[in-house]
C-alpha cells in the first residue's frame, strides 16, 4: 500500500473482482478530515471528482452520488459503517467504498479503497472505467483542503 505525499492509486485485478486503493498522509487533525468526508453538501466544493452528492452521510443513511467517472449515472448508495474519525463504508450491491483514517503523530494516514465484483463481473469488467486517476485526485483534493484548513490562522 502506498503511504506517500503524492497519492498513487494501485489496482489489483482478479477474475471476479477488481480493487483500487489509494493512501496519503495528511497533516491535519483527524476531525477536519472526517468532517470533510462526511458533510455531504460541502463535498462537491472541494472534491473535483464529485459532481453532486445528496443525502446524509451517517450510519444507515442513503446518498446519491454523481462522479466525474460517469456524470450521466447516479449511484444510489447506502452508508454501511460510520465510525467517527476512523472508518466510513458506503456501497451498493456491486461493491463497497471504504475510507479509513489512521491517526499519526503529525496528522492522519488516509486510505480509500473500492472493491467491485461478483459472478457477472467478467462480463462487464471492460465497461467499467479505471478508478486510478479519480482516486488519486480525490486523495490529493482531500489532502489539500484539510491541510489548508489546518493551517488557517485567521
Amino acid at each position: 500500500m502506498n503511504q506517500q505525499t503524492n497519492p498513487k492509486a494501485v489496482t489489483e485485478k482478479r477474475m471476479f473482482s477488481r480493487e483500487t486503493t489509494v493512501s496519503v498522509n495528511i497533516e491535519a487533525d483527524p476531525s477536519i478530515v472526517w468532517a470533510l468526508l462526511t458533510h455531504a453538501s460541502d463535498i462537491p466544493r472541494w472534491n473535483s471528482t464529485v459532481v453532486s452528492l445528496t443525502g446524509e452521510i451517517r450510519e444507515g443513511g442513503a446518498i446519491e452520488l454523481k462522479s466525474t467517472l460517469d456524470e450521466k449515472r447516479v449511484f444510489k448508495l447506502k452508508v454501511k459503517e460510520f465510525v467517527p474519525e476512523k472508518r466510513l463504508v458506503w456501497g451498493d450491491g456491486m461493491g463497497n467504498r471504504v475510507y479509513s483514517l489512521d491517526k499519526k503523530s503529525n496528522g492522519v494516514l488516509f486510505s480509500m479503497s473500492e472493491k467491485i465484483g461478483g459472478p457477472l463481473f467478467p462480463l462487464f469488467a471492460k465497461m467499467i472505467p479505471s478508478f486510478d486517476r479519480s482516486f488519486e485526485q480525490f486523495a490529493a483534493d482531500l489532502k489539500k483542503e484539510a491541510e489548508t484548513i489546518q493551517g488557517s490562522k485567521k
Binding site: 491535519a28 476531525s31 466544493r45 488557517s152
Partner: protein
C-alpha cells in the same frame, strides 16, 4: 465573580449579544427572549463560572446554546431566500404599505443600502449549517478568537477551523454568484431596487460609491470583498442604526415568508 458585578458587566455587551442572536434567529422577539433567558441562566449558574474564559465568552456560550436549542429543529433557509421573499412581497401590498409608513414616520426608518447589505447577509447566512453560521458570526462579526469560539461552541479548535473555512468559502461563492454589487453578472440587485423605492430622489450609483465593497468590486479579490462585507456588519447595530426599524420590519417579514415556504 459576584452577582452584583454580573449586571454591569452584562450590560456592557448586552447590545452585541442581542444583535448576534437576532442575526442567528431573524426574530426580534426570539432575540429579546434569549437575551433575557441568558441573563437569568448566567445569574443562576454564576458559581460555575471559573474565570477560565472572559465573562463575555461564557455568556455568549450560554446564549449560543439557547439559540441552538431554538434553531436545531427548524429547517435552514435556502440560498435563494432573497428571491423568494422578493417574489412574495410583490404580491403583498401590505408589506410595502407598512414599510413606507415606517420610512415616513420613524426616526429609525431611513433606507440605506449598506443596511440592506447587512440584512441580506443575515438572511443568506441562514442557509449555512447551524454550527457554521454560529462560528462565522462569532469570528467575522463579533471578533472572538478561535479558542474562544471553541469554548463557546464546545468544539475543538480544529472543528472551528473547519466551520470557518467552509462557511467562508460557501458565502464567498454564493455572493460572487448572486450579488450584482460585486459581480456584474450577479442576479440580485435588491438593495439598489429598494433604494429606488424608499429614496426615489437619490441616485443609487452615488450611494454605492460611498460603500467600499461596491466601489472596489473590480479591484478586489473575492476574499477581500467578503472581508469588506463583514466590515459592514461589524459597524452596524441592527437595533440602534437610523435604519433599524425599517430593516427589522423587513427581516421579520422575510422570516415569516421563510416559515411559510419551509412549512414550519
Amino acid at each position: 465573580m459576584t452577582t452584583d458585578k454580573l449586571t454591569p458587566e452584562f450590560e456592557i455587551f448586552q447590545g452585541e449579544l442581542k444583535s448576534f442572536i437576532v442575526r442567528m434567529t431573524a426574530s426580534v422577539q426570539d432575540a429579546e427572549d434569549i437575551v433575557q433567558e441568558t441573563y437569568i441562566k448566567a445569574h443562576a449558574k454564576l458559581n460555575t463560572f471559573r474565570g477560565e474564559s472572559s465573562l463575555k465568552t461564557w455568556v455568549f456560550s450560554i446564549a449560543s446554546n439557547l439559540a441552538r436549542d431554538l434553531l436545531r429543529s427548524k429547517k435552514r433557509w435556502p440560498e435563494t431566500v432573497t428571491d423568494i421573499c422578493r417574489e412574495e412581497s410583490l404580491g403583498n401590498p401590505q408589506f410595502f404599505q407598512e414599510a413606507l409608513q415606517i420610512r415616513q414616520t420613524s426616526p429609525q426608518g431611513n433606507f440605506e443600502i449598506k443596511e440592506h447589505i447587512a440584512l441580506c447577509f443575515t438572511c443568506v447566512s441562514k442557509s449555512l449549517p447551524l454550527e457554521q453560521q454560529l462560528a462565522l458570526l462569532l469570528k467575522e462579526v463579533y471578533g472572538f478568537s478561535m479558542k474562544e469560539i471553541a469554548s463557546i461552541l464546545n468544539q475543538t479548535e480544529a472543528m472551528v477551523k473547519y466551520y470557518l473555512h467552509t462557511s467562508r468559502s460557501r458565502m464567498i461563492e454564493v455572493f460572487d454568484q448572486r450579488c450584482s454589487l460585486i459581480n456584474k453578472q450577479g442576479i440580485c440587485h435588491q438593495c439598489t431596487e429598494l433604494n429606488g423605492i424608499f429614496n426615489p430622489k437619490q441616485k443609487a450609483q452615488e450611494e454605492l460609491v460611498k460603500i467600499e465593497m461596491a466601489k472596489d468590486a473590480e479591484n478586489k479579490s473575492k476574499e477581500e470583498l467578503f472581508a469588506l462585507r463583514m466590515k459592514i456588519l461589524q459597524e452596524l447595530d441592527p437595533f440602534e442604526s437610523g435604519a433599524a426599524e425599517l430593516q427589522l420590519h423587513h427581516l421579520e417579514y422575510n422570516r415569516q415568508v421563510m416559515e411559510k415556504y419551509l412549512g414550519e
